[in-house]
Symmetry: C2
Subunit: 560 residues, 2 copies
Amino acid sequence: MKIAIAQINPIIGDFNYNFNRIKQFAEQALAHAYDLVVFSELVVPGYPPRDLLENREFVEANLACLDKLVDCIHGIGVICGYVANNPADDGIPLFNSAALFEDGKILYQVNKRLLPTYDVFDESRYFEPGQQCSTYSYKGHKIGLTICEDVWTDRELFKRIRYHMDPVELLVNDGADILINTSASPFHVGKIAFRWNMHAAIAKKYQIPFIFANQVGGNDSVLFDGNSAAYDPHGNIVAQARDFEEDLIVFDLKNVSGDMRPTAQSDTQSILNALVMGTRDYVTKCGFSKVVVGLSGGIDSAVTVSIAVRALGKQNVSTVFMPSKYTSKNNFEDTQMLAENLDIDYEIIPIDGMFQEFLTYLSPDFKEDDPGITEQNIQARIRGTILMGISNREGRLVLSTGNKSELAVGYCTLYGDMNGGLAVISDVPKTVVYDIAYLLNAEKEIIPARILQKAPSAELKPGQEDQDDLPAYDILDSILKGYIEDLKGIDELVAMGFERKLVEDIISRIHRNEHKRHQAAPGLKVTSKAFGYGRRYPLAQRYVPNSFAAPNQKKSDKSA
Amino acid sequence: MKIAIAQINPIIGDFNYNFNRIKQFAEQALAHAYDLVVFSELVVPGYPPRDLLENREFVEANLACLDKLVDCIHGIGVICGYVANNPADDGIPLFNSAALFEDGKILYQVNKRLLPTYDVFDESRYFEPGQQCSTYSYKGHKIGLTICEDVWTDRELFKRIRYHMDPVELLVNDGADILINTSASPFHVGKIAFRWNMHAAIAKKYQIPFIFANQVGGNDSVLFDGNSAAYDPHGNIVAQARDFEEDLIVFDLKNVSGDMRPTAQSDTQSILNALVMGTRDYVTKCGFSKVVVGLSGGIDSAVTVSIAVRALGKQNVSTVFMPSKYTSKNNFEDTQMLAENLDIDYEIIPIDGMFQEFLTYLSPDFKEDDPGITEQNIQARIRGTILMGISNREGRLVLSTGNKSELAVGYCTLYGDMNGGLAVISDVPKTVVYDIAYLLNAEKEIIPARILQKAPSAELKPGQEDQDDLPAYDILDSILKGYIEDLKGIDELVAMGFERKLVEDIISRIHRNEHKRHQAAPGLKVTSKAFGYGRRYPLAQRYVPNSFAAPNQKKSDKSA
């Protein structure tokens, strides 16, 4: 049996587009005389549809789309993810399902058993967990069909499993001789290798081939890397799809071999690919083609605009430089050179006249050589308003340029430099922004060398440097990763070698600035924990770690 | 047995504050020689703690706080909600729990069985469902202890139950002679009466007394109305706590009677009380005391500032009027009179100079009598920047003034009039804003009559009125309620008597403006479905209702 993996990039809710895309890929697989083609999880509506699932007409359209696919595609088996109704009288009304259909008939249907409800995932909000774990006999094979999280149950890889069932084990016990996993598994740094190991371990443990068909493309913050693959019973990868692009590959079950595509060779390359794909998909799926980026002369805006050019083409990217009396001469030169290197539009709008008008009313006693927080923020908000003015005037989406380190500690202005439809690098720590810049410059210098060398500055007052207010970025980023991604406590961070006072100060800054991030543009998620949808903190709260004096005697449950 | 209900307003994560508040109320109950005092769900950490629960130190502090309460409160039984560890090796690591303790010992502990995971609730993200449903014998009674959602299982009230267990039935079968429900059940219009009916039905069905101990206070968007109560075995309310305030009431099980407090007598009064409480709690729990509101001369800002004065006192509220060349003379007079009626600070900052500076660069060919969307938004963003300037200069939280109807259809400017720390009336439909205004004026005219009579206008171009762009607000609000709150489809809305073209246009506007709401300030939830945390739509999506042509033959599951 020859099994094709169709790794496509659906558009959420665009049933006509998704129908055509699925049909095209199925026809391509049919043209090669493959026996079966496997699409990703919820490929019919696109993943994640979120609260569109509460709309009955949306669910009905998804079922109609599946019906039409069943009607239209003949001569090949198709596995395809969709939303099914739960016929029971109680429980949650929908299932996250996959159907195997062929020649006008649905032969087999499974409901996802393990529903991720953590980080960016809300599946228990929408779906009833499936219970059935029996295989299906198809063309002489017993297929064990799972949906994404159904296979995330390896007790050697996870300290703790959130579920009480192991669908893989049950399917193998039911005689499965091939495991197929249809997924919408998003990217973050380290995830690709983790997934490979996990899938390989399953194939090896049960000594059967394992097929992973993943979604590709960006949907808001969540970036799907593709990287669909097939594994032999020893856990070796024997078929591998492209990363961050659509693809159709085949895995021949008889010869235990398949197509092998090249993929990114470093984490930095994967992040860059993810950001380019995520920017392109967000802009175009939202119905835009053109963007505008405010250039400052710093590395963040340089990297953001370079990503935009890769994502959308130089003809669709324009820039504006908005100097004030605090802007250094170097930044005039560096922004212009960057725009020339990228061959993109470049406009200069000085902000001093507007700044002066605001000061007249808000800060009449203002001393030019010592702007406070009020006067600094006014400058950032004038720039934000100019960017939105260009957006309105020209129908361009604004890409904001803040990085994760700044956003974490609130080193950014709400309604100012945070303005934008998409925050391209808001999940990229400052140290990684440099890595990406060097990679962008690898073939030829795009970002002028001086931008990589200068000390980061917001240039909102004379002689200002980020490091006046913040620790060195390598230290800051390590503490941020420890606290935000690895959920380490203060004591653990101190044990790692960081000063307690510094750790406490940074954690306090993180929590004091939740309100800014609450109103931030969506950002592209590339780490295991991004600000935004997958990190949900209360705003009106007063938690201060280690501030409650515990009694000596423990009465309550301290186990586990 | 005399059972006190302690209806307190905890601060999320402030374990010292919550400890003291719980201790004070328990001591007050003890002073009255009551036998048992019941606090609300998760009263120790405050509800909802959200992702603070992923922080080990936070959970440990909550356990230490419970321990200390157990140590410190003697002579009375206490039921108190907290977060417990799940000692099992797999499953989700925490429980949403309640303990009954007395004289230094935890006597009994239950874990919440039914975990709401819809709208603003994410409990399956954090908690393992409890399984145990046995009663506890205490002072001659068999107590059936439930936590909030555990009792939301009435098959006559709900078309569909999301769960597969009925804890109330199981507890009654285990011999319960009193049901106690410790809750954090938030407010929305209609909820109070719904809850009364539901609780009364349970008492009546099983013919046993029912006690409901609810949280009170605002936590971000979510407003808890209190309204704790006790019901006799016939379903009559025999004890009733205050609404929107802390309270301690008693229910005497022997006499089947208790304290009865007066509560709001109309929906409009409840909404107003909720907004006042929510504004006070958000501002003060975030560490602010003072606010600033931009006045326009329209009804939205008039209602918002009146709520702010009730919430925070007139000395803590200041206002700014920011006229342009498009501002009518009436609005100069009306804003000033409003500020005088409220006896609050009032500043005038004209925006024409700043507007002119922006136009010089962004729109040099601008015709004064016909501002387009670019020029209109610049005006709104200048005002937003001024408000934030005052916020920075004076340490005041900005209250934004947009209503739900505007926010739904995008009749608002991102980074302009949407600026603010809290959107006080962003879940109040325009028609209800008028109801509140009349109620605010009931005793004496606070909001000048002309503000109630004039046609709503954004005054961003000459002669502009909301109704140029939008249908009449009573029609708009009905369609919005049908689509957003009641999840009706287009065909259902048309069947209600609305024009198809109008319905499609409004729905299209709702979805086109998701990106604005994504970056909106938190708003106070007063309807069954508010924008924000409890309504999660993808931004990059292209769903158009009824746009997919369904095939004639149905293959997929159409049941239920």
